[in-house]
Structures are given as structure tokens and as C-alpha cells.
Symmetry: D2
Subunit: 297 residues, 4 copies
């Protein structure tokens, strides 16, 4: 099973598929679909997950839930537990943790939307599962296989974000851990790739849309795209969201905030409710062109 290749010898798609038999397509038409909180992934529908980067406080998340629901979103996203590249938190930027999860629960009840939120540690899985409909494995934990395995065992659907330095092979390998642990409801999410720099260091990325057809050639799992984190820049979110739909993705995650410039984190990337409403229309128009839809009916 484990193969080593001399430099210059690369692996073929068939070799790759052998490494992840559960993630691999059985044949070219094999795509899996499954329902989460009444919404189907992997079908004609393209579910949209929208909300703020951080669950900053109760009123913000409830207001956002109601507004994105009104605009047609299918899931509310929001981080209560958030990894950061450094251990320090500003007064403004504080993980709300248990409180955040509770507020997501309130927003869920008020809006009727399903919830997707990130898990970072096994010990909080139970608490988060009480509220979440989809567990997000963040980019930084894409290779934290014990976490993926434990999260998968809860039977909650998982969304595994691609590490910004990961190959398609390593990304699919991470998903194989989830399927191997007995969980068939796995969504993969592209969120921008980066390259290692010695002295040029920022947190911006290049959205890899080519990975959408590339991944769908190999795996039957639905592929989501998050253009907000990739572009890190509000004006580019719309063109890249439209391009994601046109490239054939199965779901879109977007950062939406009532007051983007005052977002507790990454204020350059969220869009406001009005922009989100317009973008939902435009994404749906593009979807219609290729036989898909952002609407359930």
C-alpha cells in the first residue's frame, strides 16, 4: 500500500485512488449526496453557508442569522473556537467559546438555519455537537488525524477545509480518515492555497478553482469553496464566488457581517447584508446557467 517513488516518478490518479478507496469514485458518474438539517449536499442544489468569522456576541449572530436566512442562505457559519497564528488575543478579538456555542444555538432556534462551526479539540466535541449540524475541521487541523477521527465518530457531518499548503492527495487522505471512521457525510472545502515564504509573510492566499474539477475527477464527495478567506479582500469576493459556482462547486461558504469594517477579525474580507443579498441573486443566476440552483424548490 505504501509506495515510495524515486524523484521524477510521480503517482497516477489510479495510484492515488488506491490510497483512499472510500473517498475515491467507483466510476466517472459516481457522486454522493446526503441530507444535513433538511438540506441536500451533492445534488442540483448548491447550499450556501454564511455568517461572521467570529460569533462575537448574541445579538450580532442572531441578527446575522435572520438576515442571511432572508437572503436565502442554508446554513449559518460562525466561529466560537478559533485558531490564531499567535497565542495573544486583543480585547476586541476574544474567542467566545462556550458562550459562542450557546449563542449559535439561540440563532439556530430563531432562524431555523442549520449551524456549521469549527471544532479544535476533542474535549469540546459533545458540547459543540449539541448545537452544530456540521462540524468544521479548519485548515490548520487538516492533518490532525486524531481530531478528524473523533469528530467523524460523532456521526455529525464534517466539512474538511484544505490546508493552504496541502496537495489534493493529502486533502483527500484527510477525508479518508473520516470515512474510515464510519462517517459518510463529508464535505471538502477549498479556501485558498499559499506558498512558503522565507521573509514575505502575510496571510493571503490564491483561490485554487482548478481543484474543483480536479477533485471531482477523483472523489465522489461534494466540494465547497470559501472565497472570503482565500481572497482576504472584499472587492474580490463577488467575482470569485461567481467563478466558484461556474467552476462546478457544490456549496459556497461566505463571510457576512452586519458591519464589516468593525468585524472583530479580518475586517477586510466580510461583505454586508446588502452585498450578500445581491450576491445570492447573482450566484443563483450563474447556477441556473449550468443546471443547478441555490434554491430548494
Amino acid at each position: 500500500m505504501i509506495q515510495n517513488k524515486a524523484p521524477g516518478k510521480d503517482v497516477s490518479i489510479e495510484d492515488m485512488k488506491e490510497k483512499f478507496p472510500l473517498v475515491a469514485k467507483k466510476d466517472s458518474t459516481h457522486f454522493s449526496d446526503f441530507e444535513v438539517a433538511g438540506v441536500t449536499f451533492g445534488s442540483k442544489l448548491i447550499p450556501v453557508m454564511a455568517g461572521p468569522n467570529m460569533v462575537e456576541n448574541e445579538s450580532l449572530i442572531v441578527e446575522t442569522a435572520l438576515q442571511v436566512k432572508k437572503a436565502g442562505a442554508h446554513f449559518l457559519r460562525g466561529g466560537a473556537f478559533k485558531p490564531l497564528s499567535f497565542p495573544y488575543r486583543s480585547e476586541k478579538y476574544t474567542e467566545t467559546r462556550e458562550d459562542g456555542i450557546k449563542w449559535l444555538g439561540i440563532a439556530k432556534k430563531e432562524s431555523g438555519l442549520g449551524i456549521i462551526t469549527e471544532v479544535m479539540e476533542e474535549k469540546y466535541l459533545d458540547m459543540i455537537c449539541d448545537v452544530a449540524d456540521i462540524l468544521q475541521i479548519g485548515s490548520r487541523n487538516m492533518q490532525n488525524y486524531p481530531l478528524i477521527t473523533e469528530a467523524a465518530k460523532t456521526k455529525k457531518p464534517l466539512m474538511i477545509k484544505r490546508h493552504y499548503g496541502a496537495s489534493l492527495r493529502d486533502w483527500l487522505g484527510a477525508a479518508e480518515y473520516a470515512l474510515y471512521a464510519g462517517n459518510k457525510k463529508v464535505i471538502l472545502c477549498e479556501r485558498g492555497v499559499s506558498v512558503p515564504h522565507t521573509h514575505k509573510d502575510s496571510s493571503r492566499f490564491l483561490l485554487d478553482l482548478q481543484v474543483v474539477p480536479a477533485a471531482k475527477e477523483i472523489t465522489h464527495l461534494p466540494i465547497a469553496v470559501d472565497p472570503s478567506h482565500a481572497t482576504f479582500w472584499r472587492p474580490w469576493v463577488k467575482p470569485m464566488a461567481l467563478a466558484s459556482i461556474a467552476a462546478g462547486c457544490d456549496s459556497v461558504m461566505l463571510e457576512v457581517h452586519p458591519d464589516p469594517e468593525n468585524s472583530a477579525v479580518d475586517p477586510l474580507q466580510p461583505i454586508d447584508f446588502s452585498a450578500f443579498g445581491g450576491l445570492m441573486e447573482e450566484m443563483n443566476n450563474i447556477a441556473t446557467c449550468i443546471g443547478r440552483s441555490l434554491r430548494d424548490d
Copy 2:
């Protein structure tokens, strides 16, 4: 004008614009449009350039011209002079050079399409200008500033392909040479980026669609995309072509061949006439969603 930055100090958009005052936008709404062979670039219209990688022979190029014209293409593309990573040519893979240019001239006459073809050496400029409506500066020559300058001086419109290892800054710098030489009709074309490998070596690329909004934030010049060379793989051409339109590009270049599997070069990437016809429809549908069109009317 020439600035040096210590490691960790990067240049801002404003610093960049100073380096290329002619290429830079004057303000956020500044976009240039110009006419080439009766077709306007930089307007609502999204011109499509289609044809084979190589002008293999007269009948192939004439047939392709008539077929892509029928499907709605605006320009015929085809290489008579072609750079290759190695000096050797197979029996099948032979540059047709002077003959190829002549056959392009015949195809132009038969189809009425404008012609875009690559220039590699100053000494052939006159001959190529007799037939070509747009001179293509290939990826490998993006930093061949003497060639760009001489080509620009002919006053023929230029299309400058981004080198697969070039930053946005270096790409715009190459265009500045053309404008500085007095030529205002310059199109920029993204065609996939690569990364340097020590021992993993193939010629495939990652299409950078994020560069479309990024470039349009800085420059007033029209931005084209070539998904065929980037993906190098027929099944990915359609999703990436649709995504290019949705991302806001101003023109699309596509490789089309009557018998793709027997293309003299890169047989994995061209699409056939039937696929091209369908793709034109689908691209036009996407274009319509964002207020643009592939049709002149």
C-alpha cells in the same frame, strides 16, 4: 523610481502603480477599450479567440476557422512559430513558420476572422504583421523586453501572456514596455501559473483566476484568460472557461482542433468543434448573467 525594500517590507499597490504609470488606472472606473479588426476589447463584449495550438497545415486551419467562426468566435488563433522547451521536433511536430503564416492568411480570407499568432523574433515581424491582427507575446517571452518593444512599435495590438512564474507586478511591467513604446492596444492574458520544482517536472499549471479582479484593480487594460494551456486537460477546460467569464475576464482564448487526439502538440487539451459550439452557448449564458455578452449585437 527604483526602490529597494528590506526583507519583510513589501510594496503597496500605490508603489506598484508608480512603476507603471501608463498601465495603471487613473481611478477606479478607468478601463480602456479599443477596436481590433472590427471587434471591441474592454467593453461589454467578451471576444473569443479559438483555434489549434499549431497551424499544422492549410486545410486544418481553414476548416477550423470556418467552424469556430460559425460557433461565434471572434478571432482565429494558431501558432506558426512555436517555442518549445527543447530544440528537437518530431516528424509530426514541426513548426510551419512562413507556410503557417501564409495558411493563416488564407484562413483569414475564407472566414473573415481576425488573426492572433505568436511572434518570437524581431526579424519575422514584418512578415507576420502582413497577416496578423494581434501579435501574441508568449509566456516564455514575457520578459523579452526588446521583442516587446519592437512588436509594440509595429502598432499592431499585442496580447502579452503572463509567464507561468511571473508576479502580477512583473506582468504589468512587461505591458508598460509596450505602452511606453507608443502602443495603447495591449491585452494581458493569464494562462496558468507554476512553481519551481527540483525534481518534479511537468508542464502543467494552476489557472490563477484571482488575478483577474487583482489585475483589474490596478490596470485599465483588458484581461484575457486561456484555460486550455493552464489546465492541459480537456475535461477541465469547460468548467474553467465558465469560471473565467464569471470572474470577470474580458476575453477568452481556447484551443480548438478538428481531431483533438491527433493534434500535433498537446493532444490532451484541445476541444473539438462540437464541444466548442456548446461551450460558446454556455459561456454566453454566464456572460449574460453579469451584464456582458459573447455576441456583438
Copy 3:
């Protein structure tokens, strides 16, 4: 503390240092040194950590310990817990886990060498700390901040391998978590960088030696280099190990196996005892040229 930059605006070294005040140098001559199992890191001495990728069985690890000790190595390395990109293990390739740790304990006793081994889950920390002198945080867990924090709290020295997709900034940020948790004995280890590929997927890397002077410009922590994992190819290990010393690294990690071609994992990269003995001599010669040494005296 948390800053967001518009595209094109990058962070300076001073901005970076603000993010990791404990990891940052106070002034240009600030370098920390500390003792581990009687061996000093961060001084004139360049400690060498050698051993097999996997602790395959007791006799293999004991034999290797005795042989690398004889050749002048300062620590025995070997993985009992090993992350893999896929959940499957071949008959040959099996993590030896608790047994492996026990065998490392025996090898330690027989050879007198300090032990470095990888930790992947908090729950095994106690057991591993009974034997290990340095806890290795593997490349894949570089951003598993809860794991780093818990490992740091044990007060055992940590070695944090750079993720193959991580910037210098993110690598130093990971170390800041360890220092913030109260552990001052942290070694950073470069092990090759990669780039994200859509369809070209193997596990080979480019050793980034420029990061050695780059990191030492910013941080006072010792910098190790692992040329075995980076090159993945036996013939390149020696030149890159010598270059690592010449570039100014503070420690070298090398994969050594009694029978490289029959290594349970990655058989193309380990060197045998004889090659290791010769390489120790040559590395010491290079070290001497720059006022350093591989020998304690």
C-alpha cells in the same frame, strides 16, 4: 495586536516581532542556549539527532542507538507514533506505539543517548515523557496549538518542525505558543517546503536553507535542519547536510537505518551506519571552518 493589511501591504520584521514577543530577539546578538540531557543547544556545539524513521522493533533501535552513538550522534531519533497521510497501514508499516516507546527506553539505557520522539496526542504525553528527552511536534501538527500548549506544559524541551506549507511567521507563531505556556527550551526544525498542487502529488520537498539566516535574524531560538525528509533521496542527504552546517544551523536531524532499503517506511531516504560515520566527520570539518563543532570537547 491583530493587524489586517490591504493586499500589497506586507508586514515588516518589526511588525512580525510584535506578534511573538517571547520568540523575538531582543537585539541582534541575542541567542538562547539551553541544556538537554547534558547536551547544549544554541552554543558552539551542533548536536546531531540520528536514527530510523520508525522504531520498527527492539533490536533495530538498540543497534542503531549504539552505532550512531559510536559515530558521535548526540540524540537518538525514532518514531513510535507516526502520522500518515492515509489511515491504512501495511503489514510492514505498523506504528509500534507503546512498544516503540518502551524500546526507545531500552535503547536509551544501553547507549546513554538522549531520546527525541514525536507526540501526536495529549493522552500519550505522560507515557512518552517517561522516556523522551525532547518532544517532537511533527510538521503536520505545527498548527495544532492545543497539542503544542499541552506538550510545552510538561516542561520537556520541544522541537517544532516547520509545516511544509508554513511561512516563517506562522512557524515562529507556533513556537510562541510553547514559550507562552512557560517552556523556554524550544528548537525549530526546517524539513523542506512544498507547494500546493492540483494534480501533481508526491511527498517530496525543497529544503529551504535560506530560512536559517532568515529565522536567526528574528528569533533567539536554535534552528535545526532535517535534510533527510526534505530531500527524500539518499544521494542528496550528504550535500544538503553539509550545506545545512555551512548555512549556520544549530542542530541536524538525520535518518539512519541499519538496512536502508528495507526500512519499513520511506526506504529511499535513510543512510546506513557507514555513510553516517563518514558524514559525521565531514560535517564536523565544515563546522570547524565556521568556528563550531559536532564534538563536545
Copy 4:
């Protein structure tokens, strides 16, 4: 000869060698050596090429020639024709072109050093050949095959710098053009690799030292390294120059300037005469450790 591979299928070393039969090693011990201006490349000797980025004026280049000669350099480098990413030149930064070549001729006469300088256009080849002992094909022209072919036909030795975005395969392919044109005296020079950025744009690179053993596994041609351009930062030049020698390179190119901070171009990277003198000693010490030398005797 021309092969196309499906995505995921990469080429082997043997496949690569087929593409460049003249550049490829016949067997593992095959390395070519040749003499240039009384200095042998590809042997025990490691020739050093030193001098300013630009031939700013006569006195600067003559003084530098005498000083680097005194410190043991084998060739004087200096650019009279210089490509720049933008068409503009500051008052200070002016190519000296014909004058520069004349001044290089004077420096050659005064110092007795061989000259290496860049060629950018075929039309200046004769003039430059009157003075130059080695013609440098710059990074930006690595894929300008007509220029390489014409330069090769002069029979002057060529040094081909690796494009910062080029794979090993494309770099060796460029050299094949030179050998195919009948010139056997070709040196390859690594000078740092980059990656394409959408919005993070500067001119700094990552020195790829792993390419030294990688290239020498495939080609018999001598491999030089230029750490000055790669690092772009004076403090890193010394460690990376020493590492280049230790990695097994066959020649080193260094930027040396009488007054680095007032260099007309890239003032952050040149070292002064005193630093160069010390570095020559240290590089020679490292060379001695691996059976090589910077000295002719």
C-alpha cells in the same frame, strides 16, 4: 519525442534525459570540464565571479576588478546591458551599454581577469564578444531560445541563469539549445526561485540549493550558484555562499561593490571588498573540506 502525460502522470529522470541528450550525463561519473580564459570549470577548482551589478563607470569597475582579483576572484562580473522589470531608468540607474562594455575591456586589461557580462540582444553580440570571456544569459531570457542559439554560435562559453520560475527540466532544456547549436562550454547558474503571487509582489527569491545535487544527477555541465540575487539581502549572502560550496556547486557568482549602500541598483545585496576578502577565505576553507579549492595551485 514529444510526450503528453495525463494529470498525475509525471516524467521520470530517464524520460527527461531523452529530451536533452546532449546535456544529459552518459553515466553517473560523467562530468564535463573546460577552460575559459585560463580557468577550468568543472574540475577541483571552484571559480569565483565577482563584481558589481552594473558597470556604473570606469573607475568603479577598474577598482573593483583590481580588488576582487587581489582577493582571489577568477572573473569580473558586471552588467552593461541590464533588463529591468519596468522601462524607466532613474538618473542614477542608467545602463551604460557600449560605454560599459568598453570599461569592462579596460578593467580586463588592468586586472587580467576574465569577463562575464550579460547579453540581451543578438545585435550586440559582436561588440560584447570583443571583451567578454563568458556570455551570461540572464534569468529573464532563459527561454529566449533564438538568443541562446545565436549566443551559442559565437563559441564563447555561456552561463545560463535559471529563470526564477523554471523547473529543472526547463532549465536543462534551455542548455540543450546551446549544446545543439554546437557550443560545449555551458555553465548553469541557480539564482533563486520565486512563486507567482497575485498581490504580494516583490523581487526576492528562495535560493534552491537542493537543485545542485539534483542537477548534477542528470547533467554533466558545471553548476554555479549566485547567492546575492537570490537572497537580496547582504547579511544572508555569506551563509548562503558557504552553503553553496558545501552543497557541491562548481562556481559562485557574487555581487561586490566598493560602496554597497550607494550601488546604483539593489543596494541591499552587494558586499564590500573587505567582506568579500573574508568570504573568499571562508569559502576556500569549506571547499577544502570536500576536496575542492578556490585556488588554482
